[in-house]
C-alpha cells in the first residue's frame, strides 16, 4: 500500500511517459528516416538562429537566467506552502481547485467535470501536462471528444500521429505532408488546397471556427501560476489559446504543481526568458492572464487541477529536482545533436530531447526509462541554452549511475550518443573500437575524443562488435 506522505512515481498503464521500445531501438528507426532528419534539422537550425538574435538584444540575459534559476529553486523549497497559497487565491477569485495525485485521478476529475456540464466535446489548447496523463484517450473512453486546436496538434491529431517536439509538435512534417493529411482527414476541406503555409493555416481557421463558437468546455494547461495573486498565464501564438480561454462557459486547467511562481513580479523574469529562448521572438503573439472568474468576461466556471503524477518523487531527489525548474521552452531540444538526428519520437515520452532524458526517467522511475539518460553525448549545449540554467549534463550522469544496465552496455550507449554528436567519428568509431580490441589494451591509440573513454574502465568490456553493428542490433 502507499502510505500517505511517500513521494510516488507516475503510475504505469496510463499516459505517455514511457515508450514502446528503449531509446536505442527507437532512435535506430528514426535515423533511417532521412525526411524526418531533414525536417527536424531545418526547424532546429531556424529556431536557433532566431533565438540567438533576440537574446543578443538583451544585455542582462545572464542576470535574467540567474534570477529565473533562483526563483525556481525557491519554488521547489517552498512548494507545499506556495500551492496552498495559490489554492487560496484562486478560490477567493471564484475558481475551484482540485488535487490529482496521479494521471488516473486527474483524468477522472476532468472527465467528471466535463460530464457535469452535459457537454460531449471539449476544445483543447496545447498542454504538455494533459498529453502526459493521456487525457484525450480518457475523455474518448468516456464518450467525450477532445478537439486539439493548435495547428501543429491538429496536424498530429488528424494524421493519427504523435507529437515530436515540445513547441512545434509537427516539426517532423513538411508542407506537402501536411496538405495530404488535411485533404485526407479534415472534414469539409477545399479539395483545391495547396501546400502554401498561408493556405493551410486558413483551412485550419475555417475548420475550427465553428467548433470554437459552439463548444461549451475548454481544457488548457498553464505556463505560470502566481501564488500571491492566483493568476494563471498561458503563452501562445495562434489565438486558439485565447479562443479556449475566453469563449467557453467552463474552463478546466490542468497544471503540473511545479509551475507555480511565488510573486506577480516573477513574471517580469519569465516573460522575458520564455519567448526569446522558445520561439526566438521578443514576445509571443498572445499571452492571456486570468484570475479566477471575472463576471461578464470569459468562462464563468473555472477549475484548476493541480497534478503530481511523479513530481513529488522528482522533488525528493535533491540533485534531480532541478528538472522541475523546466519552463518547457524547448531550447535544449533545438541545440541537441542527438535530438537533431533522432527527432522527438525516439524518446518515447511526451517530453523529448535533453529535458525528456532527465525528466521522464524521474517521473516514471529509472527502471521504466533506463536508456534515456544515455541519449546524450554530454556535450553541454543544453545547459548553456537553458534559460533557467538546469544542469542537464549533471542530471544525466546522476541518473546514469542509477540506471540498471550492465557496465559495458552503459558505456556503449553513451559512446554511441557521443558519436552522433560527431558525425565524422561515426565511421571512425567503428574502426577505433575494433582496434582497441585488437590492441588488447585499454583503448590505447583511440583517436580523440574517444580517447576520453579510455579513462572509463568499461571500455575494454565493449561488446565484441562494432558500434555500428551494436547500434544496428539495438
Amino acid at each position: 500500500m502507499t502510505f500517505l506522505g511517500m513521494p510516488a512515481r507516475a503510475p504505469r498503464g496510463v499516459g505517455h511517459l514511457r515508450g514502446d521500445q528503449p531509446f536505442p531501438a527507437a532512435a535506430r528507426e528514426a535515423l533511417a528516416n532521412s525526411q524526418l532528419r531533414r525536417n527536424v534539422g531545418h526547424a532546429t537550425t531556424t529556431i536557433r538562429g532566431k533565438s540567438a538574435a533576440v537574446i543578443g538584444e538583451l544585455p542582462d540575459w545572464q542576470q535574467l537566467r540567474e534570477a529565473g534559476s533562483a526563483i525556481k529553486a525557491d519554488v521547489m523549497a517552498r512548494l507545499p506552502e506556495l500551492l496552498k497559497q495559490l489554492e487560496a487565491r484562486v478560490t477567493e477569485a471564484g475558481g475551484v481547485v482540485h488535487w490529482a495525485a496521479d494521471a488516473n485521478e486527474a483524468n477522472a476529475i476532468v472527465t467528471s467535470l466535463v460530464r457535469a456540464t452535459g457537454s460531449d466535446r471539449v476544445i483543447k489548447v496545447k498542454s504538455m501536462a494533459t498529453q502526459e496523463i493521456g487525457l484525450n484517450e480518457a475523455l474518448e473512453a468516456a464518450g467525450i471528444a477532445a478537439v486539439e486546436t493548435d495547428l501543429a496538434e491538429l496536424i498530429v491529431q488528424l494524421g493519427r500521429d504523435k507529437p515530436s517536439h515540445i513547441l512545434v509538435p509537427a516539426i517532423h512534417r513538411n508542407r506537402a505532408e501536411i496538405r495530404e493529411i488535411f485533404l485526407r482527414a479534415m472534414p469539409g476541406v477545399d479539395p483545391a488546397l495547396t501546400d502554401e503555409p498561408r493556405v493551410l493555416a486558413a483551412a485550419a481557421r475555417r475548420y475550427l471556427r465553428e467548433t470554437f463558437l459552439s463548444t461549451k468546455v475548454a481544457v488548457s494547461g498553464a505556463n505560470f501560476a502566481i501564488a500571491e495573486t492566483g493568476t494563471l498565464a498561458v503563452v501562445e501564438s495562434e489565438g486558439n489559446g485565447r479562443m479556449c480561454l475566453t469563449l467557453p462557459d467552463t474552463l478546466i486547467t490542468v497544471m503540473g504543481i511545479e509551475k507555480v511562481l511565488p510573486t506577480w513580479q516573477d513574471l517580469e523574469v519569465f516573460l522575458q526568458l520564455l519567448p526569446r529562448s522558445s520561439t526566438g521572438e521578443r514576445m509571443n503573439p498572445y499571452t492571456t492572464m486570468w484570475t479566477g472568474v471575472t463576471p461578464g468576461d470569459g468562462p464563468q466556471e473555472f477549475h484548476l487541477v493541480l497534478l503530481d503524477n511523479g513530481r513529488s518523487a522528482v522533488l525528493a531527489d535533491s540533485v534531480g529536482r532541478q528538472a522541475l525548474h523546466c519552463i518547457r521552452c524547448s531550447a535544449c531540444l533545438n541545440v541537441c545533436p542527438v535530438y537533431e538526428r533522432t527527432g522527438g519520437h525516439a524518446y518515447g515520452s511526451v517530453y523529448p530531447g535533453p529535458i525528456g532524458a532527465v525528466l521522464s526517467p524521474q517521473l516514471t522511475g529509472i527502471e521504466d526509462n533506463a536508456s534515456l539518460p544515455y541519449a546524450s553525448s554530454l556535450c553541454g549545449a543544453c545547459f548553456d541554452a537553458c534559460p533557467v540554467k538546469i544542469n542537464i549534463p549533471e542530471l544525466l550522469v546522476h541518473l546514469r549511475n542509477q540506471a540498471p544496465h550492465p557496465a559495458a552496455e552503459r558505456a556503449a550507449m553513451a559512446a554511441a550518443a557521443y558519436t552522433m554528436d560527431h558525425p565524422k567519428l561515426y565511421a571512425a568509431a567503428q574502426r577505433a573500437a575494433k582496434l582497441a580490441r585488437i590492441a588488447g589494451r585499454r583503448g590505447q591509440g583511440l583517436p580523440r575524443p574517444l580517447s576520453g573513454w579510455t579513462a572509463a574502465r568499461d571500455l575494454p568490456e565493449l561488446p565484441k562488435e562494432t558500434f555500428r553493428q551494436w547500434w544496428a542490433k539495438r
Binding site: G5, A77, T149, E238, G239, M243, S312
Partner: protein, 218 residues
C-alpha cells in the same frame, strides 16, 4: 487501541478537513523535501528593472517587425485615421471607447455586455484603447477596462484597431508588470495572430485577428 486500523496519515493540522488527494499530495511534497528543508534561495534581481517611459519609435519598429501596421497621429486625428481604416466596414467597440475617436456616420455596434459571440463575430473590425504598451517587445496589453472591453471583443473580428497614447508606452516587460493589475483579465498582444507550425514559416492569421493596426497618438 486497534492494531488493525490503517496507519494514521501524516496530516498536519492546517490541512485537516480537506480532500484526501490534497492531503496526499501535500504530504508527499513535505516528505520529499524532508526535515532539512533547503533554505529559501535569495533571488538575485540584478537584471534591468523598470526603466520608465518607453521610446515610441522603438515600439513602432518592433510592432512593424511583427507585421502590425503602425499609424502616427494626434488626438484630433484619430477619427480620420479610423475612418480610412474602416473603409465602410462595420465595427464593434467597447462600452467606454471615446465617442470622439469614431468617425461621424461610421457603422458602430457598442458592446453593452449583452452582445452574443455571433454578433461580435459578424463585425469585421474592433476598435479599442490599450492599458500599456512595451517598447522593447512591441507588445500592447489590454486589461479589460471600459475603453478596451471584455476579452472576446478583440478576438472574433478579423481586424483589430488599437489606439495607444505615447504616454502609455513603457520601456520594458518589468515596467509593464509594475503597472498592470493582476486581478484583471489581461491580454498581451504582439503582432497579429501567427503560427510557425509549418516548416517554421511565420504565417499571420490563424485564429485571432489577422490584421493589427496600432495608432500611436501624440
Amino acid at each position: 487501541m486497534n492494531n488493525h486500523s490503517t496507519p494514521a496519515p501524516l496530516r498536519p493540522e492546517d490541512d485537516s478537513g480537506a480532500g484526501s488527494s490534497r492531503d496526499l499530495v501535500l504530504g508527499r511534497l513535505r516528505a520529499a523535501l524532508g526535515d532539512q528543508r533547503p533554505a529559501p534561495a535569495e533571488v538575485p534581481r540584478a537584471y534591468q528593472g523598470p526603466a520608465g517611459a518607453g521610446d515610441a519609435h522603438r515600439l513602432a519598429e518592433n510592432l512593424a517587425d511583427y507585421h502590425a501596421t503602425v499609424h502616427h497621429c494626434s488626438t484630433g486625428g484619430i477619427a480620420a485615421v479610423i475612418d480610412r481604416l474602416l473603409a465602410g466596414r462595420a465595427a464593434v467597440v467597447p462600452p467606454g471607447l471615446p465617442e470622439g475617436w469614431l468617425p461621424p456616420g461610421a457603422t458602430v455596434l457598442r458592446d453593452d455586455g449583452h452582445l452574443t459571440h455571433a454578433q461580435i463575430a459578424a463585425k469585421d473590425v474592433v476598435i479599442t484603447a490599450a492599458a500599456v504598451a512595451i517598447a522593447a517587445t512591441g507588445t500592447i496589453v489590454l486589461d479589460a477596462s471600459l475603453d478596451q472591453g471584455r476579452r472576446v471583443l478583440t478576438l472574433l473580428p478579423d481586424v483589430h484597431v488599437c489606439i495607444v497614447h505615447t504616454d502609455q508606452v513603457v520601456a520594458s516587460v518589468p515596467d509593464a508588470i509594475a503597472r498592470l493589475e493582476p486581478g484583471r483579465p489581461l491580454t498581451w498582444i504582439s503582432g497579429p495572430s501567427a503560427t510557425s507550425d509549418i516548416e517554421l514559416d511565420r504565417v499571420e492569421g490563424v485564429h485571432g485577428p489577422r490584421t493589427l493596426h496600432v495608432l500611436l497618438v501624440t
